[in-house]
Symmetry: C2
Subunit: 208 residues, 2 copies
DNA sequence: GAGCTAATGTACCAGACGGTACATTGATCG
DNA sequence: CGATCAATGTACCGTCTGGTACATTAGCTC
């Protein structure tokens, strides 16, 4: 067998990502991961040290990849309202196309974040989505079209909630309400909706 | 040992709910569940048949309980705007106080809803929250204060997303953005926010 | 209070699982 | 081209895990 340390490591990481996202941390089997690669279980221990460290590597890599993808989201209309609507919709698209990542996040939350907490590296990287959000928000406030009592993180929380839920809870929600959140017919409606909501919220005068 | 079939069964179900919500389906251990009760593993097989059927019973019972609790949510202001805001806020409270249930739902979604799909009984029971939502929405439309192009299920989706996310994703979101979604200081703000958002959205004229 | 059965307890099994000891081989460098 | 070591493969281990065979007991009925 031709040797290539980098390829072996990378393949293990890719396959492990699939299996962990599919089965959860406890549900994933080290033997299963190994069998789906061209190498053996032994290599998992050689390169990562064990199941736990492999999962940590998967989590770190997945977050790194998602940040990279988020950076590609770019809106720079002069019109802050249009920009905000577009940011919401692009965030929606982004979530819909990264469902393995959303699954890993859900799994990590089931474990009360005990693994992610050990990955200091993730904390330092700024979150591109929030940075852009802040910028648009400021422009909108300056132009007098956005209310000034809403924080960027609150807007992000709202958009994230909606987009993550679409993907993460589609099975139970879909079953209980007999709708398919995934269906191509419904997709444009759901996509437009979050933009509508955010813009309506931000352009409404404070009540109190 | 004094015998009481009903008590034994109920205790197993209660403890199993805790353990499954805590550890996930694969992570939960039958021996662990048994040890936390006053009875033995044998009884799990006697009353439920196995780990899988026990989990199904837990899921069914949890949903039944949550429907019961939802029915207690009651708003009947004459003012549809106030009622809508209150419904959003009570839904928020409801989620925050039922975090074990939210965890079970998250776990079930990690499994792509393969278990819940076998529980036909859950489908038939109407969802109290949506029924009330529909009623308020109609009153608001009639009064001319709510837009008429928004479906009840869409509003429910928005509110659910927000409320579920608070609870389900607090660990990763909290870590990455260095905020505590659980903190008593932030709670009132987060609670009021979803009401604000929903009302702003519904009282805004359609754009298109 | 004898007989019966639902309910419970004990002890164990077979296979799965994460992990490792030990052998081997391919690439690199003097 | 031989030495060296990173990289890989094989075969195995100890423990955990879901599940069960078999024995026993509490409580009910007649």
């Amino acid at each position: 067998m031709q040797r290539d340390a980098e390829r072996t490591r990378a393949e293990l990481l890719t396959v492990a990502t699939e299996v962990f996202a599919e089965e959860g941390y406890s549900g994933a089997r080290v033997d299963d991961i190994a069998e789906r690669t061209r190498t053996t279980k032994r290599m998992i221990y050689y390169y990562f040290g064990g199941k736990e460290q492999l999962y940590l590597a998967v989590l770190e890599e997945a977050y790194r990849g998602i940040r990279e993808a988020e950076r590609a989201i770019d809106v720079d209309h002069t019109d802050p309202v249009a920009a905000m609507r577009q940011l919401a919709e692009l965030t929606f698209d982004h979530h819909v196309t990264h469902d393995a990542f959303i699954r890993l996040v859900a799994i990590e939350n089931v474990h009360r974040g005990e693994f992610i907490r050990r990955l200091d590296s993730l904390r330092t990287l700024a979150q591109p989505a929030v940075t852009q959000l802040e910028e648009i928000l400021q422009r909108g406030r300056a132009a007098g079209v956005f209310r000034d009592d809403v924080q960027a993180l609150d807007v992000h929380l709202l958009i994230s909630s909606y987009c993550v839920f679409q993907v993460a809870n589609k099975y139970t929600f879909g079953y209980l309400f007999d709708v398919d959140l995934d269906s191509p017919e419904r997709r444009p409606h759901l996509r437009a909706m979050i933009g509508e909501v955010v813009v309506a919220w931000l352009t409404t005068r404070p009540t109190a």
